[in-house]
Amino acid sequence: MDEIAVLGVGMHPWGKWGRNFVDYGVHAARGAIADAGVEWRDVGFVSGAITVRCGYPGYVAGSTFARALGFTGAQVASSYSACASGATALSVARGQILSGACEVALVVGADTTPKGFLAPNEGRRTDDTDWLRFHLVGATNPVYFALHARRRMALHGATPADFAAVKAKNSRHGVHNSNARFAKEFSVEDVANSPVVSDPLRLLEICATSDGGAAVVVASMDYARRLGVTDPVRVAGISLVTPTYPDTVIDLPYLATDSAAAAEPPDLSFKDSIGARVYEEAGIGPEDVDLAEVYDLSSALELDWYEHLGLCEVGEAESLLRSGATSIGGRIPVNASGGLGAFGEAVPAQAIAQVCELTWQLSGRAGKRQVEGARVGVTANQGLFGNGSSVLLRR
């Protein structure tokens, strides 16, 4: 797959600011444009990641942000794939650049989130599995996170202390990130003293919902060269895969898995296939990766991602964690940014924020959380209803 250059990145700090999501997106976009050293008028395409919680302006995020930055006639598109929206928006921008439709694109997502559980749309919608799981089962998102955590305990001997150690690690990383919402170091004991949300997961292990924004400016490699950027961070792969039938792992928002009665499950599970695709595009393997940003919706899910991304064998995530390999300074740091544990979730911004972090890391600009010598980074993420998301960056 041909590569594109990341010219600049920007974020609005995550928090509970209560302002219009457009403010966060514009702040992040201006930061990315300045970081790129281009003019807003040079941006030929705006790829917005949609928020579904902020009314109509959120549904047309691309043009909403473009207007707020000042309409220039640039082309726009808006993408939604739940938590994967940012990666989808990046992929749309890559397609525009590689097709020659534009040279420079802005990818931006931002959200203003309500307090508490994310819940489905209003109304009695019995033909919507997202509505049914709340109404008939009371299956919130943390219920699904906890089902996977419990399954890890039964299958691989994970303990609540392992899950808490993930949170503690990510909080240690997050204190060095001024864009993180929770700039506080939590201990394993702090986690153990927080209330249970969905057994075995506790409040400090479930990601919060946050306000925030993130943006990247990407361009063709030719454009980067003409700008004098000879060694940019490059997007070497993007994975937006869906599952392959039958997907036999229960996941939100479904009431049931597919059935393997008439067709054997694929060799790679859905989450395994997300990483496999991005490595294939980049023509490298997990052994080449220096750091990863993964979707720790819960502390326990981070352990699953170690295996899905091939950072270790199945069943070895706990020993990888305990060895310190996934801490900054270790062999393969994971969530050097602090992850969702330190940020909380701002759905359309999160996958873009992962790209921001890797760009800072690969260009040696991550300050006290810098992963020394990092040249290759991978993200992993997943939107409900079968939206895979992974981006591979290298320098």
Binding site: G116, F117, A119, P120, E122, R124, T126, D127, T129, W131, L132, R133, F134, H135, L136, V137, G138, A139, T140, P142, V143, A146, L147, H148, A149, R150, R151, A154, P195, V196, V197, S198, D199, P200, L201, Y245, P246, D247, T248, V249, I250, Y254, L255, A256, T257, D258, S259, A260, A261, A262, A263
Partner: protein
């Protein structure tokens, strides 16, 4: 809050997902061409090998093994209807052997997470999700069973 009616009408909280028989069954689908199952019948994923997309209605196995389980210590948001005072809802994902699929459901309120294990045998029952003056609205629940003898 007094209820003068001797019995309330028992109705499914959502029609078409389970039978009201004793014992009850979940109403699933079976792809006509390939034989794969889905639940709910009209909201399951399809097999790409089943080009026609026709789904027959079938009753699913009413016993299975716990794949995993948890609870919701805090009241879930709407459209879940919270009964006050809220008691944590226990949830299990249960693997059906014949259908080779996992189905989510509440666990009967007599059991909590402390009573459950991955691999435990459970059966399908009906339980009250919420009530109003005239109706009990039912949903399916999983309830542990003792290991059956033989096959």
């Amino acid at each position: 809050m007094t209820d003068t009616a001797p019995t309330k009408a028992r109705v499914p909280a959502v029609e078409g997902l389970f039978t009201m028989d004793d014992p009850p069954h979940l109403i699933g689908g079976r792809l006509s061409e390939t034989g794969g199952y889905c639940f709910p019948k009209d909201l399951g994923g399809s097999d790409p090998a089943a080009s026609g997309g026709e789904v027959d209605e079938v009753l699913l196995s009413r016993t299975g093994l716990i794949w995993s389980f948890t609870n919701s210590a805090y009241p879930p948001p709407q459209p879940f209807v919270v009964n006050e005072p809220y008691e944590p809802v226990t949830v299990a994902a249960v693997e059906l052997e014949e259908e080779r699929m996992v189905i989510l459901g509440q666990v009967h309120p007599d059991w909590s997470v402390a009573d459950l294990e991955v691999g435990m045998a459970v059966e399908l029952v009906l339980g009250t999700l919420y009530e109003d003056d005239d109706h009990e609205y039912l949903t399916w629940q999983w309830r542990p069973v003792h290991v059956e003898e033989g096959s």
